[in-house]
């Protein structure tokens, strides 16, 4: 049994499906999360390594502040790797140096042309889940109410908001549409 941010994930479930237990994480976001942390499609929650679990937990606790993902180099056809005894720190230092050189070169090219190159967008950086997402939805509804829009009035009255009929049906809206709907 794994607990991430207070949500219980069963060991026997596939990780890609289990991540949808989080409020705000659907199948596509779950797939992206698994790809980010190198969790293959058929991995079960019980098979995740402690490193993967802690990485997931730290990312989901604050997606906006997660460091950007570096683009790691991939082997060409005839690439000969250095011997296995080469220390990992040395490889990482070489990678960082080459990356810094490439970034400096790109910045110089961009400055010459006169454009400002934006960093690549990562959809997961804008991810909101659980209480943060509920707060955003609640704030949106409060905003409609406070500025006196039709939608805000319908939420306040507990009636359908999107133009459905009220002569019959509307049971779900009458049950769920109220101002405190997304209170955590």
């Amino acid at each position: 049994m794994v607990h991430i941010l207070g949500i219980k994930l069963n060991d026997g479930q596939r990780a890609r499906f289990a991540l949808t237990e989080f409020y705000g994480v659907g199948h596509h976001v779950a797939h992206r999360l698994c790809a980010r942390f190198q969790i293959h499609d058929q991995a079960k929650v019980g098979e995740l390594t402690p490193f993967q679990i802690t990485s997931l937990a730290s990312f989901l606790s604050s997606p906006q502040t997660a460091p950007p993902l570096p683009k790691f180099p991939l082997a060409t056809r005839y690439y000969v790797p250095p011997p296995p005894s080469t220390p990992l720190q040395k490889l990482q230092e070489e990678f960082r140096e080459k990356k810094a050189e490439r970034d400096a070169e790109k910045a110089k090219q961009a400055a010459k042309i006169g454009i400002q190159k934006l960093p690549p967008r990562d959809p997961l950086n804008n991810l909101k889940i659980e209480s943060e997402l509920k707060r955003e939805i609640r704030d949106n509804i409060m905003h409609h109410r406070s500025i006196g829009t039709w939608r805000g009035r319908r939420h306040g009255m507990g009636l359908p908001v999107r133009g459905q009929r009220t002569r019959t049906n509307a049971k779900t809206a009458k049950k769920l549409n109220h101002m405190g709907r997304f209170n955590t």
Partner: protein, 376 residues
């Protein structure tokens, strides 16, 4: 000789048991109780190729079985494995190559090799190679010292893994079996040793060959597909299949699978193996240059779509002998099913013999309300 039914005796260290077989063959072997095959003309051709290959480097013999669906490509590959195993080759079989690319095993990026390692698949491959080929591997020793560094899972206070020159190859494999994190390194070292030795010829048999040259289901952290040559296991297989790495003696055999809709045969494979000359190739078809380079020099060996009547008669005898037919087999049943299937082995067996309720005439018993089948 042609059409002769042959039973393949299997035991727990046989490649069919240790490495496994493709699913259709697995189901057939279960129904027949033990693997049974017939000698076809293609089998004799295969034997000649194996005879040619046994004293030459594997880069000189890189063959891929091609043919229509149900023609017997995988079955011929199974016969190749059995033939080489009987001749005491070192046999490495990958019966389901799509398992290396369909995102079912863990993968981790390795900065040193710049590829995604697949430690569990490498671990299982090492285990199976040792199970099947222990006798031959015991006669071989490593020619160089391997300093394999330290696996990520091992604490920094532990000494690095070093395998001295002269270690028997089973001991080298055992080091990889102690920790799955070391398995990719040890598998690479084992393959390097098999490249250097010329005492035993080596067979690398890959079924679902086209899956190595298709889009994989693995995704990198940026959510883009990882190419097969950036995954450690497919890269290893593709290096031997392309001749970039070569066993001192031996061959690489592959077999296409036309029924895998998740990994269909790509345009590059069609072009490289010269399949289906009637397939219309548009100038706008996408081609993948790295894949084309990996496919260069692979010789297609075409399996005829239909069996000859002699071969089909042997197959009919096998199923008749196993009481798989609903009623007694007779010439009329054989000829009708042979004609219906146009001699195609899969259609002949699965859509013909096993789906047929034809046989002896019904028995009329006055004590029973309806005519009965003769099940005696």
């Amino acid at each position: 000789m042609i059409g002769k039914p042959t039973v393949i005796p299997v035991h727990k260290t046989h490649p069919f048991v240790a490495f496994g077989t493709p699913k259709p063959s697995l189901l057939e072997n279960r129904i027949l109780s033990q693997p049974t095959t017939i000698i076809r003309q293609a089998t004799l051709d295969m034997a000649k190729v194996v005879e040619f290959a046994k004293d030459k480097p594997s880069s000189a013999t890189r063959v891929c079985y091609t043919g229509d669906t149900g023609a017997g490509k995988s079955h011929l590959l199974q016969q190749t494995i059995q033939h080489c195993y009987a001749q005491k080759w070192i046999v490495i079989s990958i019966p389901r190559a799509f398992a290396t690319v369909n995102s079912t095993t863990p993968h981790t990026y390795d900065l040193r090799t710049r590829t995604y390692l697949q430690p569990e698949f490498a671990y299982q491959t090492l285990q199976r190679i040792l199970t099947v080929n222990e006798a031959q591997l015991s006669t071989l020793s490593s020619l160089q010292t391997y300093d394999l560094g330290r696996a990520a899972s091992v604490p920094p206070t532990e000494k690095p893994l070093t395998i001295p020159a002269g270690s028997p190859l089973p001991d080298l494999i055992q080091e990889g079996l102690n920790d799955s994190a070391d398995a990719p390194l040890v598998l690479d070292a084992l393959m390097t040793e098999l490249q250097a030795q010329e005492q035993h010829p080596v067979l690398l048999a890959i079924d679902d060959f086209q899956a190595l040259f298709a889009r994989t289901l693995y995704l990198d952290p940026h959510f883009t597909a990882i190419q097969s040559y950036h995954l450690s296991m497919p890269r290893l297989l593709m290096q031997f299949a392309s001749g970039q790495r070569s066993f001192g003696r031996g061959a690489v055999f592959g077999a296409l699978t036309t029924t895998n809709s998740q990994f269909p045969i790509s345009n590059d494979v069609y072009l490289a193996l010269d399949l289906d000359a009637e397939r219309w190739a548009s100038p706008y078809d996408k081609h993948h240059k790295p894949m084309q380079e990996y496919l260069k020099g692979i010789l297609p060996l075409h399996i005829p779509t239909g069996m000859t009547p002699t071969e089909a008669a042997g197959l009919f005898e096998i199923w008749m002998g196993r009481n798989a037919l609903f009623a007694d087999g007779n010439d009329a049943l054989f000829l009708s099913k042979y004609t219906d299937s146009n001699g195609n082995p899969r259609n002949f067996v699965w859509n013909g013999l096993l789906r047929s309720l034809e046989g002896s005439p019904l028995v009329i018993d006055r004590r029973k309300p309806y005519p009965q089948y003769n099940l005696a």
